[in-house]
C-alpha cells in the first residue's frame, strides 16, 4: 500500500491535486493551472493563471468570470499530455459541458467523476462509462433513500401543479445553470402550454445553451414590474437565492416550489418553507453511484461530497471494494 503522498492524485488544501503534473482539479483557491469539470460556482474560482476545460464549460466560465481569462479547451475524449500524464475529458451528464477527467500515467488509470448523473437529460451529453483503476467519485446523494423518478414524470407533476391552480402564479425555484434548462426542456414536452418566464440570471444561461445548439424553449425574461394579473396561471423560474427575503413581497397570490433532490424527504420539504418540492437532481442517486463504481471496474474508490462513510462501509461489506481515505 502506498502512502497518501504517493498517490497520483490527492487532497491538498481542500482540493484535488496532481503533483506530478502540478495541476489542480476544481480548485477553491487561485492556482497556476486548473482543470475545471463544470461551471457551477463551487467548482471553480476566480484568478487562476490558466484554466483547462471542455469547450462548453469554457464558454460558461467566460460568462461567469470574464472574457479575459486564459483558457485552453479540449473535445470530449481528446487526450492531451502534461508532464508525461495523459489527460482527457469525458461526458459526466451533470450539465452542459460537464466532464469526468481521466488521468493515465505509467499504465495506471485514475478517474475523477466530477458531478455526474446517469439519468436522461436532453440538454447535455449522456454520462460515458470510463474504465479505471482508481475512481474519485462524488456521492452527494449517497444513501439508498435517494432514488430518482424519470424526469418526464417530474415535469408532468410540475405541469399539473401549475394547471391545477390557474388563479395563481407558480414560482419554481431552481439552480440557474443546468437545472433550469433541463426543466424547461422537459416542461415544454408536457401539457402545460402557458407562459414561462425566466429570471435574468436564468435567461442568460438559456441563451448560451441555445447558442450552443441545445433545444430550450423560448421564455420571457422576467421583469419584476409585471402586472400581477398578467402572470396568473403562468410559471416563473427563479434562482433559490431569491426565495428568502423581500423579493417575494412583490408578488400576490403565488404558490412556490423548489426543484432539488433533497425534496424527496418529507422533513426537508416541510422545513424548506416552499409549498411544494419536486425531487429532481443533476446528481446520481444511490443506484447511479453504485452502477458507476461497478462499471468503472475500479478496484480502489475514494468518495467526496456527501455521506462518504456510509457508501464506503457499504461497498467494503458488500462488494469488497477497497476504499481509499485521503483525508482533506
Amino acid at each position: 500500500m502506498r502512502t497518501k503522498q504517493e498517490y497520483l492524485i490527492r487532497y491538498k488544501d481542500g482540493s484535488l491535486y496532481c503533483k506530478l503534473a502540478d495541476i489542480w482539479i476544481d480548485p477553491s483557491k487561485p492556482v497556476k493551472k486548473a482543470l475545471i469539470t463544470h461551471a457551477h460556482f463551487d467548482h471553480f474560482t476566480f484568478g487562476c493563471e490558466e484554466y483547462i476545460s471542455t469547450k462548453e464549460t469554457a464558454i460558461l466560465l467566460k460568462e461567469r468570470i470574464g472574457e479575459n481569462i486564459e483558457i485552453k479547451t479540449f473535445e470530449y475524449g481528446e487526450e492531451f499530455k502534461i508532464n508525461g500524464i495523459n489527460i482527457s475529458f469525458h461526458p459526466s451528464g451533470h450539465i452542459l459541458g460537464s466532464s469526468q477527467i481521466r488521468f493515465i500515467f505509467a499504465e495506471e488509470k485514475w478517474l475523477i467523476s466530477g458531478d455526474f448523473k446517469l439519468q436522461k437529460d436532453q440538454t447535455c451529453k449522456q454520462y460515458e462509462i470510463v474504465k479505471t483503476d482508481y475512481l474519485i467519485s462524488e456521492c452527494t446523494f449517497g444513501l439508498p433513500i435517494f432514488k430518482w423518478d424519470e424526469s418526464s414524470k417530474i415535469a408532468n407533476d410540475i405541469s399539473k401543479w401549475i394547471t391545477n391552480s390557474p388563479e395563481k402564479t407558480s414560482l419554481l425555484f431552481c439552480y440557474s445553470l443546468g437545472k433550469a434548462q433541463r426543466l424547461l426542456n422537459e416542461i415544454s414536452q408536457t401539457n402545460f402550454k402557458g407562459n414561462i418566464y425566466s429570471h435574468g440570471s436564468i435567461h442568460k444561461m438559456n441563451n448560451i445553451y441555445r447558442d450552443l445548439g441545445i433545444d430550450i424553449k423560448d421564455t420571457i425574461k422576467f421583469e419584476s414590474k409585471k402586472k400581477i394579473d398578467e402572470l396568473k396561471g403562468s410559471l416563473i423560474l427563479l434562482p433559490p437565492s431569491l426565495s428568502k427575503g423581500s423579493y417575494l413581497k412583490n408578488f400576490k397570490n403565488i404558490q412556490t416550489a423548489f426543484a432539488s433532490g433533497w425534496m424527496s424527504i418529507r422533513a426537508l420539504r416541510k422545513r424548506s418553507g416552499y409549498d411544494k418540492g419536486f425531487a429532481i437532481s443533476d446528481h446520481a442517486d444511490w443506484d447511479g453511484i453504485l452502477e458507476v463504481v461497478k462499471k468503472s471496474e475500479a478496484k480502489n474508490v475514494f468518495f467526496h461530497h456527501g455521506d462518504s462513510e456510509v457508501l464506503s462501509k457499504y461497498l467494503v461489506e458488500k462488494e469488497s471494494i477497497n476504499i481509499l481515505l485521503f483525508g482533506k
Partner: protein, 546 residues
C-alpha cells in the same frame, strides 16, 4: 374510491399551506368518493386511529431481512428521514418490480377493515410474507400511506377543525353541529358518514355526545383595563378537562380529547346516575386529597387514566372527584346561550339540590368549583401567586356576561398561570430529532453546577425558533466532543434559560432532582457558563416552594 385516491389526497394536503385550499380539496374528495371510504378518510385524518399494527422497528427489520440491507444502513437513513414508514417507503422504491398483478384499485375500506386487521391473525412468518406480498402488489404511490397505517403514525397537517369546516361547507350546516357530530367515538361506517352529512339535525342521535369545549386563552394585558366585577375567578386545576353528561338516565364522561372514559371511572358514572335530573356539566376530574381539600399531583391521576375497570383498591388509593364549573344543559334544555353568571346560579342551585336530595351521598365524588373574589387586579395577582399552595396552576378568569361558545374564542375565558420556575443551565448533550426535525440536533440536555462539575438536570426540546434551531445545530456540529450513536456530547459553552412547572426530589436522577415540563425559554447568549445556576440554587427553589 380507492387507496390511490386517498394517497393523492394525502399528497395534496401535505403540500398545500392555505387553509381555504385544504378545505376545498377535502370537500372535493368527499364529493367524489364512496361514503365508506370517506368515513375511513375522516377516521385517519383526524388521528382517531392511532392503533399500531406493527412497530417501526419491526418494519425496518423486516425490510432488512427481505431485501438484505444491513440494519446499520437503514438506521443511518432513518436519521435523515425521521420516520420509519417514510424510510421504508423510500427504500422500497423500484425494489418491488415483481410481475404480480397490482392491487391498484383496493379501496380504503377493504385495506383497513379486512387486509390489515387480517395481519394480526397470522403468525410471524405468515405476517411477514403477507406484508412483503402487499408491498409488491400495492402501487408504489400507496406505500407511504400503507406503511403509515401499519405503524400507526398517521399524522398530517389536518386538524379536526379543518374536517369540520369542509363537511360544514359540503352540506351547508353550521360548524358547531358538525363538530358535535364528530365528537367522541367515530367508528368508520357508511352510517357514521351518512350521519355526519345528514342535513336533518336529530337531537336524539346527538344525545350522548358532548358539546364542543370552550377553551381559555392566555391572559393579555388589555384585560386589566376592564372592571374586575365583569369577571368570575376560579382556580385553574391541573386535572383532566371533561364533560359529564347525563341524558335519558345514561351517564357519559367525555374528555377534551374526545374520548369516552366511562370505563376508567366507574364509581363516578355510578354515583352520578343516582341524580334525578338530566344535565351536561363542564369541569375537571382530579385525584382529590379529601383531608386537605386540595388536588393531588397530576402523576396520581395518571395512574387512573389508562386503567380500565379499576378495582376497589385502586379506587380507594386514588380517590377521584369531579369539580364542575359550568352547567351547559339541564333536563334537555341547552342553556349555553344563557350568560355565565346566570348559568352559575343554576349550577349552584342544582348542585345543592343534588347534594341533599340524592339518595346516596355524592359529596365524596362531586362538587362545584369554589369561586374567588379578588377586590382588584393586584389582589387577583396575589391569588395567582398563591395558587401553588393549593396545587393549582393559577387562575381562570371568565367573563360573566359571556355565552358558552366553542373553541378558543378570544375574550371569554382567560388562563392566568403562575410564572414558571426558571434556572439558567448549560447545554451538554444533543440528540437528533425526528419527524419535521429529522437531520437536525433538536433534543437537548442541560446541566447545573455542582462544585466544579456540570451535572445533567433536565432535557428539553421545545422553545427555540426554527432559525435558532438551525443556528444551534451548526454550532453543535462544530463543537462536538464525542459521539455516542445519535447523541453528541458538547463543549460546555452555551447557556439557556430553562423554565419548568414543578421541582421535586428524585432518587432516580444523578442530580437528585426532577422537574416537570422543562422547556427552553431563552438562549442566554449574554451569559458565560460560570453564570449558570448551581444545583444548590435548584434546592433553594424547591425549599421556597414547599
Amino acid at each position: 374510491m380507492s387507496l390511490k385516491k386517498f394517497s393523492e389526497l394525502f399528497g395534496d394536503l401535505d403540500s398545500i399551506n392555505s387553509t381555504n385550499n385544504k378545505i376545498e380539496v377535502l370537500k372535493n374528495y368527499f364529493l367524489s368518493n364512496d361514503p365508506i371510504d370517506n368515513s375511513w378518510a375522516i377516521y385517519l385524518l383526524t388521528g382517531k386511529s392511532n392503533k399500531r399494527f406493527i412497530s417501526g422497528r419491526y418494519l425496518k427489520n423486516l425490510f432488512s431481512q427481505i431485501y438484505e440491507y444491513p440494519q446499520w444502513l437503514i438506521d443511518t437513513c432513518y436519521l435523515k428521514v425521521g420516520d420509519s414508514a417514510e424510510v421504508i417507503t423510500l427504500l422500497l422504491k423500484n425494489k418491488t418490480n415483481s410481475r404480480k398483478k397490482k392491487l391498484s384499485n383496493i379501496s380504503l375500506n377493504e385495506l383497513l377493515s379486512e387486509t390489515i386487521p387480517a395481519l394480526s391473525e397470522l403468525n410471524e412468518e405468515e405476517k411477514n410474507l403477507e406484508i412483503k406480498n402487499l408491498w409488491e402488489t400495492l402501487p408504489e404511490d400507496n406505500h407511504l400511506i400503507f406503511n403509515k397505517i401499519l405503524t400507526g403514525t398517521f399524522r398530517v397537517g389536518v386538524s379536526i377543525g379543518l374536517i369540520t369546516k369542509s363537511i360544514s361547507k359540503l352540506i351547508n350546516i353550521e360548524e358547531e353541529i358538525i363538530s358535535h357530530r364528530l365528537m367522541g367515538d367515530f367508528k368508520p361506517s357508511i352510517d357514521s358518514y351518512e350521519f355526519l352529512i345528514n342535513k336533518n339535525i336529530n337531537l336524539q342521535e346527538l344525545n350522548s355526545k358532548p358539546f364542543p369545549f370552550l377553551l381559555a386563552n392566555t391572559i393579555e394585558d388589555k384585560i386589566f383595563k376592564n372592571s374586575i366585577n365583569d369577571f368570575q375567578f376560579e382556580w385553574k386545576y391541573d386535572g383532566i378537562r371533561m364533560q359529564l353528561i347525563k341524558r335519558s338516565g345514561n351517564v357519559s364522561l367525555w374528555t377534551r380529547g374526545q374520548e369516552l372514559v366511562n370505563e376508567s371511572f366507574p364509581e363516578l358514572v355510578e354515583k352520578m346516575s343516582y341524580i334525578k335530573d338530566d344535565f351536561v356539566l363542564d369541569g375537571e376530574l382530579l385525584v382529590w386529597n379529601f383531608k386537605e381539600q386540595i388536588a393531588f399531583d397530576f402523576s396520581l391521576l395518571q395512574k387512573r387514566i389508562n386503567r380500565k375497570s379499576p378495582n376497589r383498591t385502586i379506587q380507594m388509593k386514588y380517590p377521584i372527584i369531579f369539580i364542575a364549573y359550568d352547567l351547559l344543559e339541564i333536563n334537555e334544555k341547552d342553556i349555553r346561550e344563557i350568560k355565565l353568571e346566570n348559568r352559575r346560579i343554576k349550577l349552584e342551585k342544582y348542585s345543592s339540590k343534588w347534594q341533599i336530595k340524592t339518595k346516596n351521598n355524592i359529596s365524596d365524588i362531586f362538587k362545584i368549583c369554589d369561586l374567588i373574589f379578588p377586590k382588584d387586579w393586584p389582589e387577583a395577582l396575589t391569588y395567582k401567586e398563591k395558587s401553588r399552595e393549593n396545587n393549582t396552576e393559577g387562575l381562570i378568569i371568565k367573563k360573566k356576561n359571556s355565552i358558552y361558545s366553542s373553541g378558543r374564542k378570544k375574550g371569554i375565558w382567560w388562563k392566568y398561570k403562575v410564572d414558571p420556575m426558571q434556572l439558567d443551565a448549560v447545554l451538554i448533550y444533543a440528540k437528533g430529532g425526528s419527524g419535521r426535525r429529522a437531520g437536525l440536533y433538536t433534543d437537548y440536555s442541560f446541566a447545573l453546577w455542582k462544585d466544579k462539575e456540570l451535572i445533567k438536570f433536565a432535557s428539553a426540546y421545545s422553545g427555540l425558533t426554527d432559525i435558532e434551531i438551525k443556528e444551534l445545530d451548526k454550532w453543535i456540529r462544530k463543537n462536538t466532543i464525542e459521539k455516542f450513536g445519535p447523541v453528541r456530547s458538547l463543549k460546555p459553552e452555551m447557556v439557556f434559560e430553562i423554565s419548568f412547572e414543578k421541582i421535586q426530589i428524585s432518587k432516580r436522577h444523578k442530580s437528585g432532582i426532577a422537574v416537570r415540563f422543562p422547556r427552553i425559554t431563552k438562549w442566554r447568549k449574554d451569559k458565560k457558563i460560570n453564570d449558570a445556576d448551581s444545583l444548590e440554587n435548584a434546592y433553594e427553589l424547591m425549599k421556597k416552594i414547599s
